[in-house]
């Protein structure tokens, strides 16, 4: 595969007359991981929407290899739906077409393998709503794995997740990169961004894009987070999250 796995050029997006994203330009090669930092309402989810093809850009364009896999936050899923972890993982196979047929043996096997990979092998038949928060995130990750996509978009995959699950998920991320897939991870955690290949800071417009060393400066972070930023001992920074302002 030649060329970047995912890229944007001069991207702008809006809902109706309200512009929510401007001048976004970045690119990621296969095997690279990008951390998308920004405050709530700053356009991270909008960017994902454009990459998924759900929102037409107002200006500029995006290029994505294949159909990206999307791992949403579990708050947006219904916990009372009678589906098991395996059922959820198998949903990933719907992306490959033939949605009108029941899951084939291969699809079920792929789903079980994905569950094993995220450490839910023994929980395959547990109802999704009965899993813990971290387990639910891992089940949604398994769904993304089954989809077998070259690009994965992950919306705050580690928020509210216990440390054991977080470590497991991080391990899977490394494996995915080694397989040559590109990962875009929207996150609130400035510290974790340092372990990514690239960082993209957005706050309604692109503030910075580049390797962590070049982008995670105080000036950039202040421009991204504004007054939501708290800086500790001059080096590490902590962001203050404001929940409930919409995404």
């Amino acid at each position: 595969m030649s060329g970047p796995a995912v890229s944007a050029e001069g991207l702008a997006a809006a809902y109706g007359d309200v512009r929510v994203l401007e001048q976004v330009s970045f690119s990621a090669e296969p095997g690279q991981s990008v951390c998308v930092l920004g405050p709530n309402g700053g356009g991270k989810t909008t960017l994902f929407r454009v990459l998924l093809g759900e929102l037409e850009p107002l200006a500029g364009g995006v290029e994505v290899s294949g159909r990206p896999a999307y791992m949403a936050q579990t708050e947006r899923t219904r916990l009372d739906f009678p589906v098991t972890a395996l059922d959820v993982a198998v949903m990933g196979a719907l992306a490959r077409g033939r949605w009108w047929l029941p899951p084939s043996r291969e699809e079920r096997a792929a789903a079980r393998a994905a569950l094993e990979r995220v450490g839910l092998g023994t929980e395959a038949d547990v109802r999704f709503g009965e899993l813990s928060g971290g387990q639910r995130q891992r089940a949604l990750l398994a769904r993304a794995l089954v989809q077998d996509a070259p690009v994965l978009l992950l919306d705050e995959p580690l928020s509210g997740v216990d440390p054991a699950s977080a470590a497991l998920i991080g391990g899977v991320f490394d494996e995915l990169r080694a397989e040559g897939r590109a990962l875009l991870v929207a996150s609130h955690d400035v510290e974790s961004a340092r372990s990514f290949d690239l960082v993209l800071c957005v706050n309604r417009r692109q503030v910075a894009f580049g390797p962590p060393a070049a982008t995670l400066h105080r000036a950039t972070l202040e421009a991204t987070y504004g007054h939501e930023l708290i800086v500790l001992d001059g080096q590490s920074a902590v962001t203050v999250q404001h929940h409930g302002h919409g995404h």
């Binding site: 759900e54 947006r76 009372d80 009678p82 589906v83 992306a95 009108w100």
Partner: protein, 270 residues
């Protein structure tokens, strides 16, 4: 007490028997999705909204069921177009339904002076079921079964996680439109048997009880079908015995079954 055998031997009751059996198939298949996708109010509204149209059709000789299906499709399309979620029980819908019921009863009682029609349309009829009704119910059952087989995975994915389903490339809006249209048409198909006000006795009550008893979607369909069949047959017998339309006894049975299962499964995780 009349003999239950009468249900199978008397011709008009036999037709009612078949009708309820066919409806229990749709009730199981679609009812599962009505409960899972929170379409209970929508199914009730689809039934009620067709009331004036049915009165008109009845008076002018057009087959009411055909006319009802046309209105139901229009209603489903309107709801989907309005984008206003069918879960949002807006005031506009509530007033629309009141207007439909009021308009229907004026048409029936005062314009066409066919007062008996009102009771029949509101609560169903034991004797008046004919071949057209059976044909429509049969068609709905067949289409519902096929649609559920083909679209079940999509409906589940959309119900579980609408954003994720969209990202998987599923045409959730089309799949949902089809579901709404099916539920609306199925509601109309049940009107001859149970009446405009009680279509939920077919499409919600058995599935709601089943929801408490099973933990998978497939189980939900099966149990809802079985319960719907049992309630329909027993309700039919009661209607024959007490000389009332079938709708009320089936509804009361369905509600009692729900109550019993709720009490018996109290504390069990869903």
């Amino acid at each position: 007490m009349p003999s239950p055998i009468d249900l199978a031997e008397l011709p008009f009751l036999r037709e009612a028997l078949f009708e309820l059996a066919l409806l229990s198939i749709s009730g199981g298949v679609l009812g599962a999705w009505v409960v899972l996708r929170r379409l209970a109010f929508f199914s009730h509204a689809a039934g009620s909204a067709t009331f004036p149209g049915l009165v008109l059709a009845d008076a002018s000789g057009i087959s009411p069921t055909i006319a009802g299906v046309a209105v139901a499709l229009g209603y489903a399309g309107g709801v989907e177009r309005a984008g206003r979620s069918r879960h949002d029980h807006g005031e506009g819908t509530a007033l629309l339904l009141v207007a439909a019921l009021a308009g229907g009863v004026i048409l029936a009682s005062d314009v066409f002076e066919s007062g008996a029609v009102v009771d029949r349309l509101l609560f169903g009829t034991l004797l008046g079921l004919d071949a057209t009704d059976l044909a429509v119910s049969g068609a709905v059952a067949a289409i519902a079964a096929c649609a559920a087989l083909a679209l079940g995975r999509t409906w589940a994915a959309v119900g579980f996680d609408p954003d994720g389903a969209s990202a998987l490339g599923l045409r959730s809006d089309r799949a949902d439109l089809l579901l709404l249209a099916l539920v609306a048409v199925a509601a109309v198909a049940a009107i001859p048997a149970v009446g405009v006000l009680l279509v939920t006795a077919i499409y919600v009550l058995p599935a709601a009880a089943a929801r408490l008893l099973t933990r998978s979607i497939r189980g939900l369909v099966g149990v809802a079908l079985a319960l719907g069949l049992a309630e329909g047959l027993l309700g039919l017998y009661l209607a024959y015995w007490l000389d009332v339309p079938p709708g009320p006894p089936i509804a009361v049975l369905g509600a009692l079954v729900c109550l019993a299962t709720a009490v018996l499964t109290r504390g069990r995780p869903a």
